[in-house]
């Protein structure tokens, strides 16, 4: 069967102004038990963290361990 691309709203939000991924920080990516975060290139040439897989347990290590408080976890839409 053919595959579709369906949009999904994800609960982890990263503040690009605070995120220090450009300096090599990968803390949130490292601590996520589900491994859903990645460092991505932004259009202005800097880097930031993003939730790229919709597989969140809203468990909070990414938010709790972020050294610059750039990460905010909200409750996934389906259950909030």
């Amino acid at each position: 069967m053919p595959l579709a691309e369906t949009l999904t709203s994800v609960p982890v939000v990263v503040d690009d102004d605070k995120c220090i991924a450009s300096k090599g920080c990968t803390v949130c990516v490292d601590v996520c038990p589900l491994d859903v975060l990645r460092i991505v290139d932004l259009s202005d040439g800097t880097k930031s963290a993003r939730m790229v897989y919709d597989e969140c347990w809203y468990c909070m290590p990414c938010q709790a361990d972020c050294p610059t408080s750039a990460v905010t976890v909200s409750i996934p839409y389906l259950l909030k």
Partner: protein
């Protein structure tokens, strides 16, 4: 991103620990302590820093046997009764006798436990009979404290490697095959002993929210350990004794009557009335919970709004910091204030987890499985109701025994063909350019689990479920496709979910009685039938690769249970006042 790379390497070690959550780190530490020369490898699918069921810590010990408050005899008795008698007491007793030492050790690691004004442990009563619940004021630090110890002990940690199958040779354990979750490269680890600490089967049922990852358990615990043990020929015990828990509806995390109970909170029905005498999680309690949900007095709530402000604040301080700290956020979104409203509760999806029930890989008091050199501890081993402290304590016992065992044996020779067969199985979804993605197959399997396996269990429904599972299995084996290594990890997890679903169905069909309250409520076989079913049921893989089931005697008790004590957990419902009872008949 997450490109699939070709690659394969091989290492060897004395003790291989699979899973870096709770039991795993303690197993690795104890193995290294027992034999400092041993090469101990701790393998983790995520990152040991924040992995497993307690990635954000824990609010307390739910089963602490502390001298002066409880004895190992009392605890063994309580768990035997709570688990309807189907208990090999030696493992429970050994846990109970050894857990205080582990508490002291955790204390030395920097994890504090609540003490009263006299400096004594402030143990609370939550269980039906005894007193075993000990709050942890800095329970958010558990994983960090463990990680420090692992670094200090120079344990070799391999993060982002997922074990997929065990290797066997000479009729004993020979190691494990693993896949990197970021690159899909293979790692074969030859090991003299393997300790499986791979957590619950938490992605078995589908949560009522419909969100695949909105599970009670950390969804990373997808039942891989159960599936691997099965394929290695190990016995799995009492899988029909499902885990079903009372939770905050939709959020699907614990309402935490264990925290709120000792401070005056309780589980109430729609009228705000208490209907169960004891909030300790047991199958019998869950049956009452289920009955209340179905009755005109449902749904069920956690009631705190009768408590003083400062008491509620104290409860919030604990519940919103540890274990599932996003609870506060959830309530905020719904506008629920503990001081004003009761908190709506519901029952969880089904799963396997001995941490709260009893389903697991069959182990003895040394955490040995039925396969030589293979150990299991924590949520996936069948020591009933063992919670976090059981994972630590039994993980420790596994580490000690595995280190001793490994000192006396050489590596088992094994047929290299096992590796090639497994590589072909693992990589199959990467070879397809058209097919079904793992998330859709997973959704379907888990929706079918809800439709056909969720208690009350009906024979015809379970049989229909098995027929639907067979169709899903064909999709999984013939059509599942992935585009990167992350999806490949999920695909492998879905294969574990599939195995667990079929095991749950077969085990449920086999035990033709009802036991453990709601956990194994077989509608056509009401009530316990001790004559025929006072036994373990063991599931294993037959020589022809089929699910095979047999009975095994419960080992003779070492702590006697008096006749009048046996049914203590069957009296969960609050007795209604005669006047009220009379009024309700009008």
């Amino acid at each position: 991103m997450d490109d699939i790379k070709q690659g394969s390497s091989q290492i060897e070690c004395d003790v291989l620990v699979l899973g870096g959550g709770t039991a795993g780190p303690m197993a690795a530490l104890k193995a290294k302590k027992q034999n400092p020369k041993a090469n101990v490898v701790l393998l983790e699918k995520a990152n040991v820093k924040r992995s497993g069921a307690i990635c954000m810590g824990m609010d307390g010990l739910n089963n602490a046997v502390i001298p002066g408050y409880a004895t190992p005899e009392q605890y063994t008795k309580e768990i035997t009764i709570a688990n309807d008698g189907i208990v090999d007491q030696e493992a429970v007793y050994r846990y109970a006798a050894g857990c205080y030492e582990i508490i002291e050790e955790l204390d030395r690691f920097g994890i504090r436990f609540q003490k009263d004004q006299n400096g004594e442990y402030d143990v609370k009563k939550v269980h039906h009979i005894g007193t075993y619940v000990l709050p942890m004021p800095n329970g958010d630090t558990v994983k960090k404290a463990l990680y420090r110890q692992l670094r200090k002990a120079r344990i070799n940690i391999s993060n982002r490697y997922m074990a997929t199958r065990l290797l066997k040779g000479e009729d004993r354990i020979a190691g494990a095959i693993c896949v990197n979750t970021r690159t899909a490269e293979f790692l074969t680890i030859k090991a003299k002993s393997v300790i499986m600490c791979m957590g619950a089967a938490g992605r078995l049922g589908l949560p009522s929210s419909g969100y695949l990852y909105g599970t009670y358990e950390n969804p990373v615990n997808s039942g891989d350990g159960y599936a691997m043990a099965y394929h290695a020929g190990a016995d799995l015990a009492n899988l029909e004794c499902f885990q079903i828990n009372p939770l905050i509806k939709d959020y699907n995390g614990p309402a935490c009557a264990y925290v709120a109970g000792p401070l005056g909170g309780y589980t109430a029905n729609g009228d705000g009335d208490r209907f169960i005498e004891c909030d300790y999680w047991s199958g019998q309690m869950m049956q009452e919970f289920y009955d209340e949900l179905q009755s005109g007095k449902g749904p069920v709530f956690l009631k705190l709004n009768h408590l003083a402000d400062e008491t509620v604040a104290e409860i919030e301080r604990t519940l919103h910091i540890v274990e599932r700290p996003s609870r506060g956020l959830f309530h905020e979104g719904r506008g629920t204030d503990y001081r004003k409203q009761m908190i709506e509760m519901h029952i969880s999806e089904i799963g396997f987890c001995s941490g709260h029930s009893a389903s697991g890989v069959y182990v003895d008091e040394n955490a040995r499985t039925s396969v030589q050199g293979l150990y299991a501890a924590g949520d996936m081993a069948n020591v009933p109701h063992n919670y976090m402290l059981g994972a630590f304590t039994n993980g420790g016992y596994a580490g000690l025994d595995a280190a001793q065992y490994s000192a006396d044996v050489d590596f088992a020779r094994f047929d290299e063909e096992q590796i090639e067969i497994e590589k072909a199985r693992v990589l199959a979804p990467t070879k397809r350019s058209d097919g079904l993605p793992p998330n859709q197959i997973e959704y379907k399997i888990r929706r079918l689990v809800n439709d056909y396996l969720q208690p009350p269990k009906v024979t015809r429904k379970i049989e229909l479920g098995l027929a639907r599972f067979a169709e899903a299995r064909e999709d999984l084996e013939q059509s599942m496709m992935v585009s990167n290594s992350h999806e490949l990890m999920r695909a492998l997890e879905v294969a574990s979910v599939m195995d667990c679903a079929e095991m749950a169905a077969h085990a449920s069909l086999y035990r033709k009685e009802s036991r453990w309250g709601l956990y194994h409520n077989r509608v056509e076989y009401a009530g316990k039938n001790d004559e025929e079913w006072f036994c373990h049921t063991l599931l294993s893989k037959s020589d022809s690769g089929e699910y095979s089931l047999r009975k095994q005697d419960v080992k003779p008790y070492i702590v006697d249970i008096e006749e009048h004590e046996r049914d203590a957990y069957e009296h969960q419902r609050v007795k209604s006042e005669p006047a009220v009872a009379a009024a309700s008949t009008l």
